[in-house]
Amino acid sequence: MTAQAQNFDLAILGAGPAGLAAAAVASELGLSCVLLDEQDQPGGQIYRGLGRMAARLPDRLAMFGTSYQRGLPLLQGLHAARIDYRPGTLVWQIDPPGRIWTHGTGPVEEIEATRLLLCSGAMERPVPVPGWTLPGVLGAGAAQIILKSAGLVPDAPVVFVGNGPLLYLLLSQYQAAGIEPAAVLLTGGIHDWAGGALHLPGFLASGALPEAAKLLAALRRSSARIVRQVSDVSIVGKAAVEAVAFMSQGRREFIPACLVCLHEGVIPHTQLTRLIGCAHHWDKQQHAYRPSLDRWGNTTIEGIQVAGDGGGIAGARAAELTGRIAALEAARALGRLTEDERDRRSAPDRRKLARILRGRSFIDTLYGPRLARRPPADETIVCRCEEVTAEQVRQAVREGCKGPNQVKSFLRCGMGSCQGRFCGLAVAQIIAAERGVPMDEVGYYRIRPPIKPIELGALAEMAEV
């Protein structure tokens, strides 16, 4: 049999800041620990390619700013720790509490762990506007991945649309690479500052100000046309992007573009917690579903914890802290640490975490989604895989569909290879609005294995005895 069962105290899924920090603590406490990561290099999205770049092209690090380099100690910790680190490994099925099926370059493998810590991080919030499925529309995250992993930059007019720290970060990184976009269309605006001001003291206390100031400086420095408070954005083009249309100060405008970075922040990546069956709830402030966690990152399923942005967006520094705290709790649950010891060791991290979280309301309010806040217009394609429009979803609700799973069976939306990662939120929003009920009542797609497609042959090899 090619599939070999292997046993660990703790399996950590995801080698971003939360997973790396948790792995270091777990290993220090003597837990046998496997760290599974889909990427070939550790660091997650935020520190993607950092290790390789630091080793081969240290000169280029400056282009990505100091916050990028902050990941280096975490990566070094990975080398020091006694951890079974498995890059390039997709976790595609979990049978709770601790049976995990993975797929890397070889056959499917089965791993057993007493406890699981999910550090799946964030994914970019889908922004379904008319034309968002045209070739040439990228999430800012995708645009950044291209820059980080290959150093590729576009040579045609680029337009940034949306808001949020990542958009500014990307702008500063593009500037450092010698690229200025043709225009930056900001969907946030003055009224957000009024709302955000309430949370300003918390933000100032959080210590995030210098970094934020640096990002905003990129915007001031930019020679691009900056338009604030844009609304009714649509991407125009026949076979690919040709222009961005939008409303600003009561006027309809068009800006030609070949590449559009469309970004309105990030949301917790919940496919794994959904697959396992953990309870989730709607977070109004972050305008996203998140798994319901206690203060140690325990989900509603025994033995399953979450740390980092996958449990609610708080950024890389908070992810490190929640990762460390979760690892201490895992050690306690495994009987390696007393409750008192866990509490004592986690106290400094908790204080730092509280400070960061105080600043979060400000950022959430200021950079909340605008385009993606309301359900999309009728003509918008919500499900890219099966090409289902918002209008079709509304029609299905009128025919009696009460939740996403019924809509899925009516229209096939969410049945494609992304399993609803792109359409899940929009479909739930449409249903909630049409029925006039809260998001928690609408719920979400049932997620099925495999989380991401795997080759039939790889699965078949598991059966060969």
């Binding site: 009460k402 495999p450 795997i454 042959g457 699965l459």
Partner: protein, 381 residues
């Protein structure tokens, strides 16, 4: 105030929706009570096979009658239900398989039916060129096919609704109580009164039967399915094998649907299924062995529905053995979809005419009378 109808149907899967339609066609007023939503379980998520091929001998007359309805399904429902006449084949991979299938074909002919025939190697590879080279022949039912199960179940519901049936979704039925000739079904949406109860509650059907003093040894099972990425069209018939538990079909959108035998775990109380990975691997291995071109195709999603399996592999269909005014149609043991259209007609016949035109003796709930005693003994001990 209680809702009143001639017939209350418990369970809005394909059997319940079909029963509602046929009862309305007989002029009976109908309320359908469904704890989740229409087609939520087995009826909405099964493989969609519309198959007479290789049926249990007792089911053949029903299956053949149902196929007549299938061939006119669009006229009946105003919806094509995704029904395609693709043919179904059951392949012989070994000489022993071929003998088994030949015996089977003869048995079916002896019963007076002509829909199953043997084809040789040459015709098999003409029909299924993508098949691995080792196969020897097959049993075929040329007018069998497949349909979209969720679409079909909804179409029955929609047509029944148009004819005046009332569907109460998200409404759980509690055990019924009889007052003289009137049945009362307490539900989460109030009491429903009717002269007749129809139990089409699938894997949950035994709870109602048990409340009426006729428990059955039903086992909730979760047949697993997997679906792949889209591929260019490469196969028309639905393919099974005499040596493997697998059913393989390519849907009109190009995806391949693989199911047909391996089971996950069903938790009917929690509305949940749990997949069994080695079982999925067995399915994948079977698909790869018969269709080598599938090796690099990606599996996109795996799932299972909850079905009620009875020990002899055939359903309970017919009147209650303990109470008047109650009719059962449940426990279809993972092959009820094709029978759906005719089961609704049978239920309507039983209610309106007091008998069915089709032979129902093998499906009587009385065959499990011994189980009732076992249950009593267990309770006593």
């Amino acid at each position: 105030m209680a809702r009143i109808a001639d017939v209350v149907i418990i369970g809005a899967g394909i059997q319940g929706c079909s029963a509602a339609l046929h009862c309305r066609q007989r002029g009976l007023s109908v309320i359908v009570v469904e704890k989740d939503h229409v087609g939520r379980h087995a009826s909405g998520v099964n493989a969609g096979g519309v198959r007479r091929l290789n049926r249990h001998p007792a089911e053949i007359p029903l299956s053949v009658a149902s196929m007549h309805i299938w061939h006119g399904i669009e006229d009946l429902l105003g919806d094509d239900c995704g029904f395609r006449i693709s043919g179904q084949v059951r392949i012989a991979e070994t000489p022993a398989d071929l003998e088994t299938l030949k015996t089977r074909a003869q048995h079916v002919r002896d019963l007076g039916f002509t829909h199953e025939e043997i084809i040789g190697r040459e015709e098999l590879y003409e029909l299924v060129p993508a098949l691995a080279a080792h196969c020897l022949g097959a049993l075929i039912a040329r007018d069998d096919g497949f349909a979209n199960p969720a679409q079909t179940t909804r179409a029955f519901c929609r047509r029944a609704t148009e004819l005046g049936a009332m569907f109460l979704e998200g409404c759980r039925a509690e055990p019924p109580r009889r007052h003289g000739n009137v049945w009362e079904v307490p539900t989460t949406a109030g009491t429903v009164q009717a002269a007749t109860i129809v139990n089409t509650a699938g894997a949950w059907g035994d709870a109602i039967a048990a409340a009426l003093g006729e428990p059955v040894p039903i086992e909730p099972v979760a047949p697993m399915l997997m679906i792949t990425d889209r591929l260019p069209a490469f196969i028309t018939p639905v393919v099974g094998s005499a040596s493997r538990y697998m059913s393989f079909k390519q849907l009109p959108n190009g995806t391949a649907l693989i199911g047909g035998g391996t089971l996950g775990t069903a938790d009917p109380a929690g509305n949940l299924t749990r997949l069994d990975l080695p079982g999925l691997a067995t399915l994948a291995e079977a698909a790869r062995a018969l269709f080598p071109i599938m090796r690099r195709t990606r599996v996109v999603r795996c799932w299972a529905g909850i079905e009620g399996q009875l020990p002899d592999g055939i359903p309970v269909v017919g009147p209650s053995s303990t109470e008047p005014g109650v009719f059962h149609a449940f426990g279809f043991s993972s092959h009820g979809f094709q029978l759906g259209p005719v089961i609704g007609r049978i239920v309507a016949e039983l209610i309106a005419d007091g008998q069915s035109t089709l032979p129902l003796e093998p499906f009587s709930i009385a065959r499990f009378a011994a189980h009732k005693q076992d249950t009593r003994l267990k309770e006593a001990s």
